[in-house]
Amino acid sequence: MKRKKKKLTTLFILLGVLAVVVLVFFFGGRREKIKHQAGPAVSATGSGQVQGVKTKRVTIFFLSESDNLLHPEEREIRAGTLNEEARAVVEEIIKGSRSGLLNTVPETTRPRQVFVTSDGTAYVDLSRQILEASYYGSSGEMAAVYSIVNSLTYNFKSIKRVSLLVEGNERETLGGHIDLSRPFNPDYSLVAR
């Protein structure tokens, strides 16, 4: 009797091992992709609970009236997937500053889509209103581009560079100056210390 029980246990163990083997065989190759879609977990330091909604603290860069540099402003956004959080950051940039800093992009702009590829490029697709600014000299354009680029790369470790699209298409520039055809690395020399 005892012997039979032992035999049964062994059988179960073997079945378990087999199940693991099968599972690993079919899903092993996809581990990388799944990991990326999950996005970064809400960090312990920069998160809180506001009225039961999980939030995340982020830093948004706006232009300062006093110098020609980008200055940080803290915000709470709703926690979610990487794509959702990145989109929320772009929305905050468009909404503009609450502490008297200058907005860098036209407030009528809509984010059409924000998604991050597995190699760390964030594609930010904006509506055509992003092009309609009277202040797009080189400085104005640099501020618009790098407030978006720096805000995204600063807040999300998995975003290494940012590519800007307008109405779903690649564009040469926003207003005739800065080249949009390549993804941007962050440039923190434009940020106040």
Partner: protein
Amino acid sequence: MPRTARVILVLSLLFVAFSSLVFSPVLAQKKSQPVPVIKVEVADFTGGTRLKITAGSNLNYSLRKSGNVLTVSFRTSSGLRYDRTPFSSRLVQSIDLAKSPEAFLLLIKTSTADFSYTQSARWNPFELTIELKGVEEKKAPAEPRPAAPEKPAATQVQTQPTPVAEQAGPPTSGGKKQVKTIVIDPGHGGNETGAKGTYGTLEKDVTLAVSRKLKEAIERGLKYRVVMTREADLSVPLERRAAIANNNKADLFISIHVNGSRRVKANGSETFFLSLNATDEESRRLAYFENNSEELENRVPEKDFDDLKLILWDMAQSAYLKQSSQLAEFVQQELNELLNTRNRGVKQAPFKVLTGAACPAILVEVAFITNPEEEKQLQSEDFQARVAEAIYRGLNRFLQLYEKP
């Protein structure tokens, strides 16, 4: 069951589990997505060249022309292979497959930057047909300077005249490269107005006025041909502006702009040359990280060297950065001297108009049209003339430096 048999069974199962762990990603990839192979057929016809690109599966693609390179980007997650077949063509020089962070790029290099293209695609099976047509220009030399030099080493350029320039250029003393043509690029134009001032002044009008004055100054004082990328209030695409410089074998490219900012107070003048989005910014970024936060350490992007090479290859200007920075320095000094505007210094930024220029190239940002005081200045003939004079003096100093044997 004997004990030994059980042990052997368990061990063999563990072995299978282990090996499947190791090999499953490979197998899964192979099974789910075979790597598409693209083939390119090249055939010349009168007045152009037809490229037929075929692949085993449908591909998302986009086309982009930059100088003498037509890039077809394929966005695919499954990898891509290029089945190279030899070809000969008047227009197409080489076809290569490269990988950028977000796509596979088929780089079609042509003998001239002056061509137009049309494309059509068929699906199932995938077939993309691109027709390249050379643009005939009366004045343009038969072989314009290649817009993308293959060895973009800044130090080589000073001493080495490009082979094409030697062949097609007018006879020069001892084969030394001499400055012959200066291309002036008045920023914006047509419906592309540039920045606007509070009194309604448009950037495009000021840049054209200053450019005209600069042209006069150069023609008065120096024996150089001056070509303008636009002579009137016209919209000219940015890539076209660089192409005009390269087709005229420009030795200097000066783009004139007037600055604008959301900050009404912003003021001053600055001179730009191209930044490559990776080189010195990498170090500035590092400096920022060091001073700011310890948790930023792992955020420094690991820059793939191949990407960098591709960027360099794609940008003709990368070969001339050293000279461009020197030219920018001289012009900025003269602007400070003559204009009395705040010195914002020499800076680098990824300006579209500068990327394709195969010669020393700068972009001057004179004062801020969005600053009411400076806007008034920019409207005045006298101020415009002083801007032209300052740029003229700056480039004259540069020319003298490089004219010496």
